[in-house]
Amino acid sequence: MSVLEVRDLTIRFGGLTAIDSLDLKVDEWEIVGLMGPNGAGKTTAFNCITGFYKPSRGQVFYRGDDVTKLPPHRKAALGIGRTFQNVGMVKSETVLENLLTAQHTKTGYGALQAVVGSGVVRAREKELVTRAEAILELLGLGEFRDRRLGALSYGTLKLLELGCALATDPDLLLLDEPSSGMGPEESHQLGERLLTLRKELGVTMLLIEHHVPLVAAVCDYVYVLNFGKLLAEGDPDHVRNHPEVVAAYLGGEAPEALAETELPEDQQELAEVTS
């Protein structure tokens, strides 16, 4: 049984079909890449999978269960973790507090117990801090424990965001451009980190990534989207040399079917629809 299976996923914003009949499968222990030029609908696909958008048609299955209609927080509780394209963390909090916040569904006490100050809470909070510190150590970010986010560099923030996603204790992790803001050396390190995380924590991953060497190094399978449609799929080497993929990225001999109107940036859609 696949960890994640997307069937015939379609979403329209007004007259615009942002994703058209996308089929996608992520199996246990796999790291799957999702590629495509800007505006291809990659982040929109993430938003549909994690419940931020309601797809117009199609289903999302998580370990065989139809989770299409579940709200984001329920999916997070099920074990679908995600990161955002532009650093999704609580910016007024410290690093440690962010990692504690990310463990929201794993606290082991209820909101009512928290409000009345039940004794269980104190003990559980200690465990949460321990776990947060362990994650910081794992990522080599221990020195930033009590810093506020404003003072940190973008690369550090991206890594911390990965830490927050790990703190939600995911079984399936969706990473939106994890290597953005990182140099070649750092993104190489990130690749090794992702492989290690899979080995040690058994996390299955789906990642949006533009950095081809990283994709080639970590992904078992790659899907390429263009204008909301699946352009190609296969192992990284196959996709890399696929003529249509090359055309889509470099703007070479684009097949006529693809020469339609440009889609808006994913982030703008996200901002508009959710604001």
Binding site: A76, F84, V90, S92, H104, T105, V121
Partner: protein, 378 residues
């Protein structure tokens, strides 16, 4: 790249911090004592002092209530007087002392019911407020507050046929100072809840949704549920404050909460939480006490006016003076000092929490973030 440690490792004990904390314990106690003396002994001076101190305690409870709603949850309420009023109305009508002192048991039940009733009303407002934010939320709460108060509080069957519902204190609390101690105990209850909220997943969830609802839900926070929780908790605290207020004035009168008087209160509540510093308990408490002391019913302002020879002027304008002071403080907070009073007292608060004393705090405080992140910006 070395990732060798498993995700769950033994924590390194921060012995240094522990020692630091212990070393300053004496100094911190010494600093806390005068404060405690002022809080407990100054109201012993006279019934007038105790009376206004109890009023300040009620304001502090409302301040903490606003702190949960605006500071943590990032939602604004311009109708908070309705929750305070509903608490007062509920207790007074439930106990309805007539001309005798309240039965202590009923009195206790009345306080709990006041909190429950206002919590429920706030849940209702929260349900409406879920889909709107910023300026629209401000407008909806404004309308909710004034309509709720004007429509329900003025019902003759609930306001003692316009004469007010009597709420005489239980005999054990009949002296001003004892009643003040009771109000102080209720402040401690609200403070305790505030601390519990801030230190647990509830506060973290609220702050996460205040800063970014998408991120909060990706972390597994039920954004709609937690917003409602924020409203309900805040309403319950305000209701408890209202219950105390009914026995402070020893009656429920709709005139305290409707029309201009009610709006005046609502405005003061919002101003005091911003001037105090959003999401900053200490700052909000100081601001709440301050606004209670400069409020029209405070004898302090009258006494100052008399000594300085401005008594006639003061009597003519006393209903606006606290508003003018509030407006000036609000402006200076927004323009010069976005963290509010909380930011100003932060070096002391940090020292009190066991950190070394320093005026320079590179990481800033909660308040600044709250101002940036919250929808209070409208």
């Amino acid at each position: 790249m070395t990732v060798t440690s498993p995700p769950i490792a033994a924590p390194a004990l921060d012995l240094d911090a522990h020692r630091r904390t212990r070393r300053r314990l004496g100094a911190r106690t010494a600093a806390a004592l005068p404060l405690l003396a002022v809080v407990l002994l100054l109201p012993l001076h006279s019934d007038g002092f105790a009376n206004i101190a109890a009023y300040a305690a009620i304001f502090v409870m409302v301040g903490l209530s606003m702190n949960v709603l605006t500071g943590y949850t990032g939602q604004i309420s311009l109708g908070h007087q309705a929750f305070v009023g509903l608490g007062a109305l509920t207790t007074a009508n439930l106990i309805n002392t007539g001309t005798t002192a309240a039965d202590p048991f009923l009195f206790g039940i009345g306080m709990v019911t006041a909190a429950a009733a206002s919590g429920a009303a706030a849940l209702l407002l929260g349900a409406v407020a879920l889909r709107i934010r910023g300026l629209y939320l401000a407008l909806v709460t404004l309308v909710f507050g004034s309509v709720f108060a004007d429509a329900i509080f003025t019902l003759p069957s609930l306001n003692g046929q316009d004469a007010g519902v009597k709420a005489y204190r239980p005999t054990a609390l009949s002296s001003e100072y004892r009643f003040y101690l009771f109000a102080l105990a209720m402040v401690v209850v609200c403070y305790y809840v505030d601390v519990c909220v801030r230190r647990t997943k509830v506060g973290r969830g609220l702050i996460a949704l205040r800063d970014n609802e998408l991120v909060a839900s990706a972390f597994g926070v039920n954004v709609l549920g937690y917003k409602l929780l924020g409203f309900t908790l805040s309403g319950a605290m305000a209701g408890l404050a209202g219950g105390v207020f009914a026995f402070w004035t020893q009656q429920f009168s709709d005139k305290d909460f409707t029309a201009a008087a009610g709006f005046n209160l609502a405005l003061t509540f919002v101003v005091m939480v911003v001037v105090g510093g959003l999401a900053n308990r200490g700052g909000v408490i100081i601001a709440a006490v301050f606004f209670a002391l400069v409020s029209p019913i405070s004898p302090m302002m009258g006494a100052i006016a008399q000594h300085t020879g401005w008594l006639n002027f003061y009597n003519d304008h006393k209903f606006y003076i606290s508003n003018v002071i509030g407006a000036v403080l609000l402006l200076q907070t927004v323009v010069l000092n976005p963290g509010g009073l909380g930011q100003v007292i932060r070096p002391f608060a940090r020292w009190f929490a066991g950190h070394p004393f320093t005026l320079h705090d590179p990481d800033g405080g909660d308040g600044v973030g709250a101002m940036e992140g919250s929808s209070v910006r409208a």
